[in-house]
Symmetry: C2
Subunit: 302 residues, 2 copies
């Protein structure tokens, strides 16, 4: 599991900071999460192959999270993409994109599929044999979802020497990987754990931006491998959290602790700050394993 | 008169090329012409003060000419702008901007005035005591206008020594500047040209992008000081001009010659080319005074 931060700042794009966008590589998928203005250029800068992006998740319809989407959709067309593109986001997003395409006098040559979201409870919005994606309802000024990306449970690993010694027919290997005991060629029941090893633990990534402090998300993100939680403000500006519906680094850390996640990544910094070490310091008073998002930075969780 | 090229490439923004946007400084106005994705960042990079932009002109609704507009309108709001903003562009632009503002749950705190264009003949769309702006109907795949920015005729300059010698009351200075003969304190009629000098010639800037070769624009842009004419293609790709409704460098030069402009600037280069000297060379076979647009370049016409 690999996370590349294309942008992690709130509000307006500037020469030295990008608005929100991330690429999550998980089980061979390349999911684009949010798409602020300039995302297509940041994708190029970070050498992300456009054709590998098949699913885009938009948290909410504030500009710093989606103004780059129409440009990307349009560029895919100009580059004669043929691969299907799925866009998950709040109701209204489809209308915005289709209106602009209509006015430009052209449509995508590739299939463009919108999955508009309006539920106020967590729902499964994507699933294949390797990964599931759930919404995480957040509390912001407008309708907003975070997203939980979960690897499905991995298969057990065969110890091929022990399997051969136990005289098990290859026809039973699939059952063994799934955790079942099997009968060998001599009619003897072989206990699964005698010939297999524990699978690699399934990883998960919870993306929570933008939101005010909100404990309702905790059951959904419980035990996640990685939590990205917005921390727009430092403690000294906490009074801004309620009117703007944002969080501090300490709020993010409190959620990380209560949800028992392994790692917390902070981001969505207000552009009023110039350095971000204080965010880390404040979060670490509550939760130890804290990382700072940075434009262009890749985190590897393998 | 000063022109700053924020971007001069067609199609998609890339790490090394920007889509179309320009700032024209003329008679203390700062007009923004077109607004491709990333324009707000390029404005900052080129140190253009946001508050000085009061008029934005959008040629047409292809993404490389306006996808950065919603971000700029939104950023002006976040920066608590109060100054009126006027946007001139094709019908439909207002709907796109207002829809996105509605979905974001907020409106601009400053007055935002749309001037939607639909005429197929040139019309005066802006005028004050110093400058006039006219549309230049272009021929592209969708409804498109270029824009002609014209300084109004400048006043004649008083030669203050000669005026004093001629014994003319200061009350008549205004008349003199306007070109009239006046009667002096001794009751003698003084010929205007005896005490004044010719004014600085009024300048004009014609912006023509995007368009196929189109002689109908010639009467409108006749004798312009500067013509920016798109040259998407080189001669070897001329066959692409008709289907895409674009021009070659030679087309641009032919228009410049027939319209008797002083200077031609080429731009809106297709991203298929990596260098642009050939554009200049091809244009110069027809018209001599050719400049190449370049992202971040400023041309001074004083």
């Amino acid at each position: 599991m690999k996370l590349t931060i294309l942008g992690c700042h709130s509000a307006t794009p500037r020469t030295n900071t990008n608005p929100t966008s991330q690429v999550l590589e998980i089980k061979n998928h390349m999911f684009l999460i949010d798409c602020g203005e300039g995302t297509q250029v940041e994708l190029r800068r970070n050498r992300v192959k456009f054709s590998r992006i098949k699913h885009i998740f938009i948290s909410h319809l504030h500009g710093d999270h989606y103004f780059g989407l129409i440009g990307l959709v349009n560029t895919f067309s100009l580059l004669t993409r043929e691969t299907e593109l799925h866009i998950y986001g709040p109701e209204g997003l489809k209308e915005v994109i289709l209106l602009q395409m209509k006015l430009s006098g052209g449509w995508t040559k590739y299939p463009l599929v919108f999955h508009e979201l309006s539920s106020k409870v967590s729902e499964l919005i994507f699933e294949d044999d390797k990964v599931e994606v759930y919404t995480i309802p957040l509390k912001h000024r407008i309708y907003t979802n975070g997203f939980l990306f979960k690897e499905k449970k991995n298969e057990r690993k065969l110890d091929i020497n022990l399997v051969n010694e136990a005289n098990i027919d290859t026809a039973y290997f699939r059952k063994l990987k799934q955790g079942y005991d099997v009968v060998n060629e001599d009619g003897v029941l072989i206990a699964n754990e005698k010939v297999t090893k524990d699978p690699i633990l399934a990883k998960s990534y919870a993306y929570c931006s933008d939101t005010v402090y909100n404990e309702e998300m905790i059951p959904i993100i419980k035990d996640a491998t990685v939590l990205y939680h917005e921390s727009t403000f430092l403690d000294k500006n906490e009074s801004l959290c309620i009117p703007t519906k944002h969080s501090t680094a300490k709020h993010a850390a409190t959620i990380a602790k209560k949800a028992n996640v392994e790692t917390l990544i902070l981001g969505h910094y207000s552009t009023r700050y110039s350095g971000y070490n204080e965010f880390k310091a404040e979060a670490k008073t509550i939760f130890d394993n804290v990382l700072l998002a940075k434009d262009g930075k890749t985190f590897n969780f393998d």
